[in-house]
Symmetry: C2
Subunit: 216 residues, 2 copies
């Protein structure tokens, strides 16, 4: 393994060296998911855990991932414990169900800003099970591989359309300028995934078929 051009170990962070400000006690050391939830709170007045989950499915989902309900509730408690968010109980009355609404605090807004600006950026994580299967293509039935890639193409097309529709809905509001820029990125990302999957499909069709059980 005498390669000298590239590092074997790619960084998990883009800037591993923590600048003095980054992990001082005014910005608690939380996982990105916490900041994602706090970030959603920063885009709204008041949200319940349920609201947050629904919204995560329509926004975070495209470029991060949507945490489960239970994790969202846990994160909210943690954020409140750190003073980054506050909550008020909305008790049930007149046929309106009880719930707990969360709001970002001023301290939370500052901490989020410092996290965005100063915390080391984690390298993007990709876990592409479809590619994992193609990578093991020598074990697979060619038809199954094709089916998988076609299901994947359908999936990314759906995501591209959803992102596009969301981007359209968001771009009218100047407060959502950054979220809509990201949604435009997502649209292009999923469209590009579609094209890449189609090229891969064409690519593996040129491969000599070493195993073929049926071709009827």
């Amino acid at each position: 393994m005498g390669v000298d051009v590239f590092d074997t170990n790619m960084p998990k962070r883009y800037s591993p060296v923590v600048t003095e400000a980054a992990n001082s006690d005014d910005v608690p050391n939380l996982p990105p998911t916490s900041w994602a939830v706090l970030g959603m709170l920063s885009h709204a007045d008041e949200l319940s855990g349920y609201d947050l989950k629904k919204w995560a499915d329509w926004s975070l989902q495209f470029f991060y991932w949507s945490p489960s309900y239970s994790q969202i509730y846990a994160e909210l408690k943690r954020l409140e414990k750190h003073g980054l968010a506050t909550s008020r109980a909305v008790i049930q009355q007149d046929g309106v169900r009880g719930k707990r609404m969360y709001t970002i605090t001023e301290s939370g807004r500052k901490a989020a800003a410092r996290w965005v600006n100063d915390a080391p950026v984690e390298a993007p994580v990709l876990k592409h099970s479809v590619m994992l299967r193609v990578w093991l293509g020598n074990l697979a039935e060619p038809e199954r591989l094709r089916e998988m890639l076609e299901a994947h193409i359908a999936y990314v097309e759906k995501m591209a359309k959803r992102a596009e529709a969301d981007a359209k809905g968001a771009e009218s509001n100047p407060d959502w300028a950054y979220p809509s820029a990201v949604l435009r990125w997502c649209t292009r990302h999923y469209e590009s995934e579609r094209d890449l999957a189609q090229e891969l499909l064409a690519d593996i069709d040129t491969l000599p078929k070493r195993r073929r059980r049926k071709h009827g």
Copy 2:
């Protein structure tokens, strides 16, 4: 939230309905990471845990992610427990260090093939911290956003070049036809990520700057 065209809940699996064969007792229910490790074993004669980690850094890394040493050792034990791999101890002698070499079993090869063909395919997982920060761009310093995106572009360019070099190295061997097709996909994927990041950079430059602390 009266959208009727798309599902709010995107599938975590492409085919949630398990076909009779998929989870019968002959294919143990293991996480994708286990199959990834078994898959690496299926591409080689005999590998140590250390070898597997090194190889994961150069192959899986591009489209899946590279598990830590400790997890690889744990996965190997699990695979052996299920009879999908066997190991032999290479004791140290004549200045050669001791180690344990793992081999896929015939049963392991069959199980891996059934997993690839029949198990429901997990939707790809993307955790893009860079996009998360851009999404919170209203909290950020524009210059920091720019720096992050530029670091990201440098990262994906590095990945693209590594994938391309690997693809070149692999394509001569006909046994690696599928791995090299995937590496070509990875090359295009990272090149596309670079282009997308550049477009996003241009996109956010057109945004009205609501906050600006310094511009010297």
